[in-house]
């Protein structure tokens, strides 16, 4: 496993992306807040409305605010056209700028309200125009307070920017989310350390500027502004320098191919596997990790992500909004056609395994209850059993389908967080739990999955999804072809387990992907 320091120093590109995003958001926040503050200082009503709105925004959790911009931008496409990005930089910028608004606005308005009225009258009395009054008197006298607001906004924004990972914008949140999912604490620590370090450094620098402004030491705030500008310039150069100096792309070269993954180990492993296949074929590859499920589906449809792995059952329920459960092949074919017609996404094919909702039991407990092997066997003993699931599961169509199809009436239903599900089973807190069929822990000897002879549970075949941008690219398709039908559930479980296990044989998703590639003969 990679060490902490090694991980930390490998975060350069995430750091530059984080700096560029945060600086843009704070900059936009300031550009909006300052004129608004000037307006507010001249009108009580504007002040009330502006501050009220900014405070309201602040009450929305940052994660939700970021996610909300996806539907907002999607609906704005009616106005700005289909090219309006709905994921990545733009929504992250807008959400974070809104978040940065309040502290700047509030401090600017308060500073203006507290200016000495005698000084303001003198400004009029010596013959200043409103603009001269603003620039010569109000702005310099408010500057230290406004700077304090900018400091607060900067610390908040740099912290909240880690959440932009979930809407497909690379940031220092990438290692944090990836690490949380794969329980790689070095990754989490490195991400937190880097973003906290950045926030502290910026706070310190802005503090120097603030004091310089308060003490009217020109060299001090000048040096501070210089340092901040330099930092942003360096980040921008690293981020966009390549693009600036890159040569024109040859016709047919799609440029970097963006691979998205959801927030669990299997998704990380598969994105690495896909990435290495494409790299072998000579493509440039970028990763967007830790995306929400719906967000990722939308991202592929609008080509802000080029390749993802999705699951038939997920798309069936979440995107097609269907509640019936057709046979496996029929479901897959319907989805392929639906995607082609509605989103333009190309479903290239299935990888060969399922990651379905299923029921898992401890082998010894199944023996005790009379040798249970299928869901059918549960019916006579269900009334003595406790079933556990994640909070979402008991609301999903899968649960209603299963309990109806097999006539199951459990003694007790308990909710557990996904992390503790197997612990509950192990400790006997639950006799059966909802599980994912490709879960790595099922390859251990202790647990097994109940069979579903009636086919009540929908299938969750892993599918390779290609964006409209890349779907027709023969070279990309050729590079991915070997993955189709190549991964069986045992191989996937093994790879998942290698990442999920908590002993010293735990590996990174990248390493697990390499082992998986070897195993399936790539």
């Amino acid at each position: 496993m990679m060490g902490f320091w090694e991980t930390l120093f490998g975060l350069g590109d995430k750091l530059t992306a984080h700096v560029v995003l945060s600086a843009s958001a704070i900059g936009l926040g300031i550009v909006v807040a300052l004129p608004l503050a000037v307006w507010a200082s001249r009108s009580q009503n504007v002040a009330r409305v502006a501050l009220g709105f900014a405070s309201l925004v602040q009450t929305i959790p940052a994660l939700a605010l970021l996610a909300l911009f996806f539907p907002i931008l999607l609906s704005l496409r009616a106005v700005f056209g289909e090219d309006l990005p709905t994921l990545g930089f733009l929504p992250a910028l807008l959400a974070l700028a809104l978040y940065a608004l309040l502290p700047v606005l509030r401090n600017a308005v308060t500073a203006q309200a507290n200016l000495d009225p005698g000084v303001l009258e003198a400004a009029d009395g010596v013959g200043m125009t409103p603009w001269q009054k603003l620039t010569l008197v109000e702005a310099p006298l408010s500057a230290p307070f406004i700077m304090a607001g900018i400091r607060t906004a900067s610390v908040w924004t740099i912290g909240a920017a880690t959440l932009s990972t979930t809407i497909g914008q690379p940031s220092l949140g990438d290692p944090i989310f990836a690490g949380l999912q794969t329980q790689n604490w070095n990754l989490v620590l490195a991400g937190c350390f880097a973003s906290a370090g950045l926030a502290l450094a910026v706070d310190l620098l802005l503090g120097v500027i603030e004091r310089g402004l308060a003490l009217r030491r020109r060299w001090q705030y000048g040096a501070g502004f210089g340092a901040v500008t330099l930092g942003i310039l360096v980040a921008v150069t690293f981020q966009y320098g390549d693009a600036l100096f890159a040569e024109e792309r040859a016709d047919g070269d799609p440029g970097p191919i963006v691979i998205g993954s959801k927030q669990f180990s299997e998704s990380y492993i598969l994105s690495q596997l896909i990435g290495s296949q494409l790299k072998k074929a000579g493509f440039e590859v970028e990763y967007r990790t830790g995306l929400g499920s719906g967000v990722l589906h939308g991202a592929v449809a609008n080509s802000s992500v080029d390749i993802s792995v999705d699951y038939t059952g997920t798309v069936w329920v979440n995107e097609l909004r269907r509640t019936d459960i057709p046979p496996r092949e029929e479901m897959f074919e319907t989805i392929v056609a639906w995607e082609r017609e509605n989103t333009g996404t190309r479903v290239l094919g299935r990888l060969g395994f399922e990651n379905a909702y299923a029921f898992a039991m401890r082998r010894d407990r199944a023996e005790e209850l009379g040798g249970i092997t299928t869901l059918h066997d549960l019916k006579p003993v269900a009334s003595q059993m406790t079933v556990g699931g994640d909070p979402e599961f008991f609301e999903r169509p899968e649960w209603f389908a299963v309990s109806e199809a097999y006539g199951l009436d459990f003694d007790e239903i308990r909710n557990f967080s996904p992390t503790f599900m197997f612990n509950a089973l192990k400790a006997g807190e639950a006799d059966a739990i909802s599980a994912y069929s490709s879960d790595g822990r099922l390859s251990a000897k202790t647990y097994f999955l109940l069979e579903d002879p009636l086919g009540a549970l929908p299938s969750y075949d892993a599918m390779l999804m290609l964006s409209p941008r890349i779907g027709g690219n023969q070279a990309v398709v050729a590079a991915l072809q070997p993955l189709l039908g190549a991964i069986n559930v045992e191989a996937m479980r093994e790879a998942n387990y290698a990442v999920d296990r908590e002993d010293d044989r735990k590996v990174s998703p990248k390493r697990a992907a390499e082992e998986l590639a070897e195993k399936i003969g790539l």
Binding site: E121, A122, G125, V126, G127, M128, L141
Partner: protein, 307 residues
């Protein structure tokens, strides 16, 4: 007695100011109302139709209780407050039609709260008026202005918060004089100062008024200050001019009830002080007498014992 000596509105409205060739400032039924007109609760009449002229070279004190409208009237001159009705003429021209920056160059203003810009050095504060019209005041001129208000030239590089209250208001006066104004307006200029500083600065301002040939209008609530510095005292009450007298006239009992009420305050104080002084002197004299008697008695006794 109010403004009776002044010209009526008619000749001014036709633009003929022949009667006023000597007047620099003329209020023509100037009025200032706040709030909704007609609303008896909400409408406040700060200045209620004031008509009067201020002659070139005069030092006029505008006196009245708080809320009498004297500050508002003063602010109408340099358009810090615009008249709701009527006009204010400066050198024959309606101030609202003059270019604001030019008007304020010709009219120096000393503020009640001093109003120095805390982020500017003293020199920059003094030079701000000319700077606004794109003119840079030479250091020698700033030094001269500082010396006019009896401050050292090296004060120019100090920040206002390094100065005492009296020094700051001296800078305020220097700033008002920076544009070589014809008219100097002062709104309670010495209100925040201690009595000794106040007297010294008041006298200095009066001297500058003479030296520079200024026309000065000073708002004050302190009748004693008005009587001592001005050569004409206007008394305001509830937005109206109720007296227009010389200090001599006011002390002689002219000006009516309100004016005399204001004059009575310093006069009573002065009389009480004088009475106190008298009684102290009388007591001292009595004591001296008694002591002399005692001495005489003692002397007599001594002499008596002696053979």
């Amino acid at each position: 007695m109010i403004a009776q000596s002044m010209v009526g509105a008619e000749p001014i409205a036709t633009g003929q100011l022949s009667q006023n060739t000597n007047s620099l400032l003329h209020f023509d039924a100037a009025e200032r109302r706040y709030g909704t007109p007609g609303d008896t609760n909400g409408e406040v009449i700060a200045v209620d139709g004031v008509t009067c002229s201020v002659a070139k070279g005069s030092f006029v004190a505008l006196v009245g209780a708080s809320g009498s409208g004297k500050s508002t009237l003063l602010k109408m001159v340099n358009t810090l407050v615009e008249p709701s009705a009527g006009r204010v003429l400066f050198d024959g021209e309606d101030v609202t039609t003059l270019k604001q920056s030019q008007l304020r160059r010709r009219v120096g203003y000393v503020f009640q709260g001093i109003g120095l810009f805390p982020h500017f050095r003293v020199g920059e504060n003094i030079a701000i008026g000319p700077r606004l019209t794109g003119e840079q005041l030479p250091a020698a001129r700033i030094a001269k202005l500082l010396s006019l208000v009896e401050l050292e030239p090296d004060m120019a590089s100090r920040m206002p918060d390094e100065l005492s209250g009296g020094q700051r208001q001296r800078v305020g006066v220097a700033r008002a004089l920076a544009g070589d104004p014809q008219l100097l307006l002062m709104d309670e200029p010495f209100g925040a100062l201690d009595p000794i500083t106040r007297d010294a600065l008041g006298e200095r301002v009066r001297e500058l008024h003479e030296e520079l040939g200024l026309t000065t209008v000073m708002v004050t609530h302190d009748m004693a200050e008005a009587l001592l510095l001005a050569d004409r005292v206007l008394v305001m009450d509830a937005g109206q001019l109720v007296a227009d007298e010389t200090p001599r006239g006011l002390l002689g009992g002219a000006g009516g009830e309100i004016a005399q009420g204001l004059v009575a305050v310093p006069r009573d104080q002065a009389e009480k002080l004088a009475a106190m002084e008298e009684s102290i002197a009388a007591k001292a004299a009595e004591k001296a007498k008694e002591r002399a008697k005692e001495r005489a008695r003692a002397k007599a006794a001594e002499e008596g014992r002696a053979p």
